[in-house]
Amino acid sequence: MRQRGSRMEGERRASFYIFLTPWILGFLLFMVVPIVWGFWTSLTNRMAFSTNVKFIGLANYLKLVQDPEILYSFQTTFIYALLHTCLAIVMGLIGALLLEREVPGRGVFRTILYFPYMIPIIAVGWIFRIFLERDTGFFNIVLMKLHLISANIAWLASYPLGSIVSLAIWQSGWSLIIFLGGLSTIPNELYEAATIDGANYFRRFSRIALPLLSPFIFFQFVSSMIYAMQTFIQSFILNVRQLRGEMLFVSPPPRETFFVMARGFFEVTGKNRFAYGLSVLWTLFVVVLLITIVFIRLGGFVVYTEVEEKR
């Protein structure tokens, strides 16, 4: 009997690894190898055409933490990621609450609010570059027509960070879907009971929907932070530099929106400083890991769980 059990176990393990083989191969080839090699290279002085590559230990990292420009990049990247995440969550939450119950045309609204998320980020970058233009941009024209502003605002020049953040609002469809999924897990009886007890809309939201949604909000917060910390193309496109076709990545974007990812990429491809660029990217990796761990730890305090009730 026991033998049969262990044979079953062996068979199950075989199946497990057989079906996991493509993933394992991909993981080793395209994640483990580049990451390890990248880290190793970041410990050397490799440049594009260097013949004399030496191991220099953590010198690149020491240089990096003393470089005010890089530190500034990290600061703006973090601020941006936080703004991006919070706005996308608020926007998604508003959308989800509006679409939660039966509203005429619910499916259509859901589709329309979701679909900017499907538009490739590179296209969104170009669209918003034109849209936010000072003198000819549609955004200023509309605001002027509505008499909300009295003079054209140079969004890209004066509010570069805000301009990039505005994409996050437009592309908040993903959090909308997550929160709609979350809201649909809340049993209707809870609302009904609360209504009978005389709870108004805001009370029902803050005492029922919000706590039960908190795991979804938390999940969205962490994954969106990870995603937004990696913003890169927008740095190069959404600014007031004169862009020239082949030169897109040759000149650095303005300092205010020169995010870490863009800086690492620029160091490697624009300046040919392979080792230094990789050390920038690796530092971002570590920072993202640390932030994730901290948030997951903090998450335990803010996320509602059923277990807590039994205290």
């Binding site: 994640m31 090699w37 589709t111 490739p120 024209i141 990870i226 990696q230 020239r244 490697v268 990217l281």
Partner: protein, 281 residues
């Protein structure tokens, strides 16, 4: 009392509708701006005071966008790369999701956490060293690389497939196993057809990721093999390399159209599939 309640409910619905319509209008503004810009002449672009609607819509821009860069060629490149990436990506994620939902062994949980934790790795930390490595062994400018890139699947899709497979009763496979079907027979003939919705969702995501990807093509491919994502930024320029924004906007419309069509054609199954199977678990 009941009447009062009903009118209040109607008022709330009306208010919600109003806000929603306002949101939709705001959401459409950038797209309107894109379309209008694509119909302007080059002089119109910089005319002050700004014109909202061009006097004579330049429909020719849409032909220019097509002829200026041999658009068909680059469109084909985009399609090839996306399919090359999507197929192995779907397959590998599906395999992995199946493994995690059906073959629980001691280390399954740990491996699953490993899969999910790869989400935390910034993609440039893997792609840039990979580019440097592949250039060293001379493997650049090869479109088939995308077939390999897709092989590791995507953590989100693995999760999605696991959720979908978990909803299928075990008895389906057991009876097949008793009939003597092998593990691949069971997978392809019984399990795979049952997760069609997840395959569609995964397909849209994988296709869209690769279609939208800018970093890998700009690093791994050159000239004739570039996809639209890269070509749009580089192709529509005058002799002085200044970007012709009105043509870029026309090109962008072509570029986003396949994604939009794919999405709207399948959105019903897509969104409800995401809501019902994928996320609730």
């Amino acid at each position: 009392m009941a009447v009062e309640r009903r009118t209040r409910k109607a008022a709330v619905t009306a208010l919600k509708l109003l806000v929603l319509i306002l949101l939709v209008v705001i959401f459409f503004l950038p797209l309107v701006s894109m379309v209008v810009t694509s119909l302007k002449t080059r002089d119109d672009l910089y005319r002050i005071p700004a014109i909202v609607w061009p006097k004579e819509p330049q429909w020719l821009n849409y032909i220019t966008a097509w002829t200026m860069v041999r658009f068909g060629k680059f469109l084909l490149n985009s399609i090839i790369l996306s399919v090359f990436y999507a197929l192995p990506c779907i397959m590998s994620s599906c395999f992995a999701g199946y493994a995690f939902s059906r073959f629980q062994v001691r280390e399954s949980r740990g491996v699953f956490l490993l899969v999910l934790s790869t989400m935390m790795i910034p993609y440039m930390v893997t792609v840039v060293p990979l580019y440097l490595l592949l250039t060293r062994i001379g493997l650049t400018d090869k479109m088939w690389l995308w077939l390999l890139f897709g092989m590791q699947g995507a953590p989100f899709l693995v999760f999605l497939f696991r959720q979908y497979f978990s909803t299928i009763p075990l008895s389906f496979e057991e009876s097949a196993r008793i009939d003597g079907a092998g593990r691949f027979q069971i997978f392809f003939y019984i399990m795979f057809p049952l997760v069609q919705t997840a395959v569609i969702i995964a397909g849209i995501f994988a296709f869209q990721w690769s279609w939208a990807d800018f970093l890998q093509p700009i690093l791994f491919l050159r000239g004739e093999k570039l996809p639209l994502a890269v070509k749009l930024a580089k192709g529509y320029v005058d002799q002085k390399e200044s970007i012709l924004y009105h043509i870029v906007m026309a090109g962008l419309l072509y570029y986003t159209l396949p994604i939009i069509i794919l999405f709207f054609a399948l959105q019903r199954r897509f969104i409800s599939g995401l809501l019902s199977g994928g996320l609730k678990g």
